[in-house]
Symmetry: D2
Amino acid sequence: MNLRSVFPPMPTPFAGGDLDVSAIATNIERWMIAGLGGVVVLGTNGEAALLDDEESDRIVQAARPHVPRDRVLIAGVGRESTRGTIAAAARAASAGADAVLVRTPSFYRGQVPPAALAAHYTAVADASPVPVLLYNYPAFTGVTLSADLIKETSTDGAQFIDMAAAVPERFTILAGSAPGAYTGMCAGARGAILAIACVLPGLCLQLLALACAGRHAEALALQQRLTPVARAVTTGFGIAGLKGAMDLAGYRGGDPRPPLTPLAPDALDNIRTLLHAATH
Amino acid sequence: MNLRSVFPPMPTPFAGGDLDVSAIATNIERWMIAGLGGVVVLGTNGEAALLDDEESDRIVQAARPHVPRDRVLIAGVGRESTRGTIAAAARAASAGADAVLVRTPSFYRGQVPPAALAAHYTAVADASPVPVLLYNYPAFTGVTLSADLIKETSTDGAQFIDMAAAVPERFTILAGSAPGAYTGMCAGARGAILAIACVLPGLCLQLLALACAGRHAEALALQQRLTPVARAVTTGFGIAGLKGAMDLAGYRGGDPRPPLTPLAPDALDNIRTLLHAATH
Amino acid sequence: MNLRSVFPPMPTPFAGGDLDVSAIATNIERWMIAGLGGVVVLGTNGEAALLDDEESDRIVQAARPHVPRDRVLIAGVGRESTRGTIAAAARAASAGADAVLVRTPSFYRGQVPPAALAAHYTAVADASPVPVLLYNYPAFTGVTLSADLIKETSTDGAQFIDMAAAVPERFTILAGSAPGAYTGMCAGARGAILAIACVLPGLCLQLLALACAGRHAEALALQQRLTPVARAVTTGFGIAGLKGAMDLAGYRGGDPRPPLTPLAPDALDNIRTLLHAATH
Amino acid sequence: MNLRSVFPPMPTPFAGGDLDVSAIATNIERWMIAGLGGVVVLGTNGEAALLDDEESDRIVQAARPHVPRDRVLIAGVGRESTRGTIAAAARAASAGADAVLVRTPSFYRGQVPPAALAAHYTAVADASPVPVLLYNYPAFTGVTLSADLIKETSTDGAQFIDMAAAVPERFTILAGSAPGAYTGMCAGARGAILAIACVLPGLCLQLLALACAGRHAEALALQQRLTPVARAVTTGFGIAGLKGAMDLAGYRGGDPRPPLTPLAPDALDNIRTLLHAATH
């Protein structure tokens, strides 16, 4: 399984409030043509927390035929309970996922000490029919995994270095935030899951290639070019912003599911300007 | 529907990892005999986030026969999506709930502005076959509703007063945290949902009665007596602590579901001491 | 020393960037006529952190002749070092302060464990020629004293009750935040230091009197009337807002010292409206 | 003025509670022999917040003769008021400082909007007789400067890149946290102010040299070696830890000033172990 690439965390497309399966196919086909290493479905950007189990299964099934066998179909399966996460991993695997990504349980975070979190991940890894990718997204889950557990992270250079020092050699560390992608790669990341890769897959692949080739000045310049629009589609305007940017770039984005709100027109203008600046 | 009473937020009992339906019956029977105003199932203390939909339905069904018609069976139905919350409210109502309690969506909190939150609650209230109780538990959800929406809250006296001033006359405000119950009642609360009421229902009813009767010195003294053990079964030792205290008091508590962890023996000793101090 | 009253935390008046000693006299004279129990100078609202030592001394000296001997002149003397705090307490006492108020050191808060904080307060209390009032203002200092040390606090009803239970009988607890004043008094406070008392001394004294007389419904109603404008002159518009409200009420407020900024005109209009609503 | 080097933020040595001027001389002499680019006095690690003005002046005067003219003597002069900061800058310059470092005012942070912060820095820069270095230390001051103002920062790679993109070409960005030094240098920093440079000046200079020479693999390996002990003398054991490490390395550290507490013996053992690991 080759994780040394860039993966887009697919937003879930809706039509009239229901899943839009054809849009899934269209978007993934384009990403594969652009050369991305596969796709992550049912992640945070996939509005996984807003979907029911049956919808989740259909999304994996809809994605599978469009991800070539030499690429990787990764499905988010994190739930609040260990039992629920194990069940979701089994369902995702049987629907065709190559690997599962397990976010940290967060609802009862004050009541889950580090040892319990380790037990959670271990139980899931033991039970899952496919490999488990660990996931660290502090802004959303409010829990930062300690360094001997994690496999992906934020923009903190020091944290990346800790992780690289702590994980076994065979681990691939994936950068999980575009603004910190280049420094993450300096610190040991060898791939990335980046929201902006849904919109600008080529530039993201180029950033990874430059950093891995030791062409630091070019990588830094490209990072500086990517950062403003990458922020707009994440911390700036959230999932609605990412979907709006996809619409602008010819993908099928659309609106998020309530209580998330559609993108305001001036936010779309703002994103259009940033997208233009990053690509011209 | 009489909400001017005290309600226990029922922890969900498990046996061998599965629901223990008989323990639900036993606990609720005792609480009704003790005079509590009904019961809240599927709340935060009910480990609702760790249960699947089918289990949630069975809990409401199991509780229904044991809650007399002049008391109130309240079911927590909050989900991250508006759609999911509406579906859960419909299922809870058809399983027998008299009212539903809707916690604030929290996973995408940065992406749900106040107007979207208001729209969420309005959509749920419009669709629900039974009355909707609003719910405000900042420590868990990370979102504090603005005063024109809320109906229950924390230990902050000023926030209670805001709420009392903001909601229509017909609203009943329920205190949601035992350490702030007395000051909440001073500020306008006329009932309460208190974890410690699962263990010490009589003292909680007495506190409400004293405060409502204007016997402030006695109410304050009782509050001071209740606070240490009330803290132990919430912020101190969490759901495992509440279940442990129930076991000590003759109820059926047991262990929580992973990744929550069983109570350590010294924590149980600690709770035993505090329980003794509050009742002797 | 009678602390069972309401005390205004005097803002420091400036003229052309320097101390305006005559404005100090004017304001204190009016507060004493209104019946307040004394005055607090050099507190957070007094911009103490923006003053040098020589200015601090002159403020205490300027205030002294205008505070009758049966009232209390309290001076804030908290510094980051124990040594500096002791020196400031000695200077304040020799300039005429009846008591000193010691805020929690905050700059190195991560490096001052509870025992070191206790040692700090003990050393200051041992060295001070006048009584030391403990002070707890978490929003500014970022440190919440544990219950066996504190003497004044926020809006949290539960925290007031803890404090009342923890401190020796002879302690007077002063409410330190107007929106939580009534619930604080329910929970055991017998006096208050309230920014809004600089503007509306009579209503603040009335609130204390009603609460202490057990006239809870009237106290609650008055609290609800005071809260909006009390918020505006603290969390809403800060020290500039408090000074602006004083100007509106006939006191001598003026502008704060940079980097604090003068009040914007629309903020002043907002405060005028709230002041009118609270008093009509 | 050559800032493209590593600077130690000198802890202030005390003897019997008073300044130890001879220890200042000894430490700076050794750092200059080790090749560091100068020294920063009166910074956060210098316990500046615990010193009075007269002591501050004496420290600059004591340092001056030991910093060669081709190195840089930098003095921290940040105060809470603009007026106080300007006065401190003038005093530091007349005592011999080559440049002043201005931390962000933090006590009233909620009341100082970005424009007021910019006005503060501009006023100080206009008035200062020597160049002003901007300073950004979010953990202590709680305020993060916006990118168009800052000149030094934390471990966040993305923030470094923002800064490098925002500041004029002539600015030198200094890394301010050892664990993020290497990624900061990847992102554009060309020098550093590092607490661990007080203890291990040679390794810090080597890290900067490797990163600037594009020898990334060696720089990353050295960073991984430095990080554990660098954390111990900052976030781990604070100023007492830094002083303890200096004592172990043959410098003159000693105890901090109360309310900071002396290093516990087991903490010293811990630091000794980490120091050994970093250097063997």
